[in-house]
């Protein structure tokens, strides 16, 4: 299994580990609930170096407009955009954050398990353009500092003022003598930053942030409950090669008015069909319906769909779930449903996503 450059540090801190996308990653250091609450109330520090970084130079805007579903050429320098890469069938290969560094230079962050699939797709598309596609994943440590106190803490370390940097933007700066990229993005539903650090310089920066009183080091367990509360999809759960962006409620990122792009013909067709739709559900009591548990209409005999992610929400105190349900039912907010929780029917109702908003 792959390990991040900070693996030994995590082990020394007493982390428990889990396999995630082929990486041996910290799942928690102590209490995952305390880690979750630290991000909501103060700040949490995550090592997310398993994420893949791919840099595109040259006709980067043209390549990305062709290979991805959004219009990336319309971005301003220093901005970030959430988007997806689909195959010719309009199914989701991965969801991505794209940063525009300059007119002719973009940085893409892909999920760990999809890094190679994304790279292959981009390299295939790159044949049509004057462009250089480089997998830089091995060169970077990516840290996420997330929470209401993240910006003020990080500001003490960097040579630029982060306060005025808008959400979904990226700036370069220095921490000590180390050149870093500072992106105001994240996967927790809180304000915060993702910090790209050259791997050899990462340990001392990780340590300097981790010792701060406001900061708690957090593992993937907390990251998962945080993103679920924030209604953010996780590839392999809400997004797979079996679903299209419209079913996932992410049709807004698909720019069908672009010229030809990979998946366009299929996506134009898929936009009008809704076999499945992703819903947010709120449960009664404390027992959470988890991934793959089935959802029914009240008293119904046949399942109308399945949970993709579910947990007892640490912030809200009740079970929350995202689920793909039969799109033809056109369920409304407040619709009553049931989940089969290991043989017991538990009441759930349809609620707005996200479950939590800061």
């Amino acid at each position: 299994m792959l390990r991040t450059p900070l693996f030994d540090e995590h082990q020394g801190m007493g982390a428990a580990f889990t396999d995630f996308g082929g990486w041996e990653m910290p799942v928690r250091y102590g209490s995952d609930l305390d880690e979750h609450h630290a991000v909501r109330n103060s700040a949490g520090l995550f090592d997310i170096s398993h994420m893949g970084e791919i840099r595109i130079k040259g006709e980067a805007a043209e390549l990305l407009d062709y290979a991805l579903v959004s219009k990336l050429s319309g971005m301003k320098d220093g901005k970030a955009k959430y988007t997806m890469i689909c195959n010719a069938d309009g199914k989701v290969i991965d969801d991505l954050i794209v940063y525009r560094i300059h007119t002719d230079e973009y940085l893409i962050v892909a999920n760990a398990g999809n890094r190679h699939a994304v790279l292959v797709q981009l390299l295939n598309a790159a044949e049509h353009f004057e462009v250089e596609v480089t997998d830089e994943s091995e060169q970077w440590v990516l840290l996420a500092l997330q929470g209401p106190k993240a910006t003020s803490v990080l500001n003490e370390f960097v040579d630029v003022d982060l306060e005025p940097l808008p959400y979904y933007s990226i700036a370069s700066g220095k921490i000590g003598q180390t050149e870093v990229l500072l992106a105001r993005t994240g996967y927790t539903g809180e304000d915060g930053f993702e910090i790209f650090i050259p791997d050899t310089e990462a340990l001392k920066i990780f340590r300097a942030l981790a010792v701060r009183e406001e900061v708690r080091v957090c593992g993937l367990a907390a990251r998962d409950t945080l993103r679920l509360e924030a209604g953010m999809p996780l590839y392999g759960h809400e997004l797979t090669l079996d679903v299209n962006p419209f079913e996932a409620g992410l049709g807004r990122v698909v720019a069908l008015d672009k010229d030809d792009f990979v998946g366009k013909v299929a996506l134009e067709e898929l936009k009008t069909q809704k076999n499945w739709k992703l819903y947010g559900l709120k449960g009664e009591g404390k027992r959470a319906a988890r991934a793959e548990y089935e959802i029914y209409l009240p008293g119904g005999e046949n399942p109308i769909g399945q949970v993709t992610s579910g947990a007892l929400s640490p912030t809200l105190g009740y079970p929350v779930a995202m689920a793909y349900l039969d799109g033809s039912l056109e369920l409304e907010i407040g619709s009553k449903l049931e989940a089969d929780v290991r043989g017991t029917r538990i009441g759930y109702e349809v609620v707005e996503l996200p479950f939590y908003r800061r």
């Binding site: 928690r28 609930l33 367990a221 027992r287 988890r290 007892l312 290991r342």
Partner: protein, 123 residues
């Protein structure tokens, strides 16, 4: 934290404290750590009967669900109701305040000693 020598153990990571014909049951620190922070417990009702190695309850963490196996045939005489309000007690004090149920039994199956359980979990 080591596994207390005065307790007996199962391969399903329960501990058993025998006093007369009543056994107090809990899960080991090893099991609690593996589950992560426990957020919900479903324990058998007082008066219900238990069957050796049959599931009699559930322990849920934010990340996963663990099943509670009855270490012996018997009847539940007490359940730790305080856990419904503070299930995280199981993580904090698995061998003490985090006990789960008390079972009255007539016969005990073979259980592991602490040193056998240590070896079983590779400590």
């Amino acid at each position: 934290m080591s596994n207390p020598a005065e307790l007996q153990y199962t391969k399903e990571h329960e501990w058993v404290r025998v006093e007369g014909d009543v056994a107090t049951i809990g899960i080991t620190k090893y099991a609690a750590d593996a589950l992560g922070e426990i957020v919900y417990v479903d324990l058998p009702k007082v008066g219900s009967s238990t069957t050796h190695m049959k599931i009699c309850g559930e322990i849920e963490s934010t990340k996963s669900v663990g099943e509670l196996y009855a270490p012996m045939d018997g009847e539940v005489v007490e359940a730790n109701d305080s856990l419904s309000g503070s299930p995280e007690t199981i993580n904090g004090d698995p061998f003490g305040e985090g006990w789960l149920v008390k079972i009255r039994f007539t016969q005990l199956p073979d259980l592991l000693s602490s040193s056998e359980y240590d070896a079983f979990i590779g400590e």
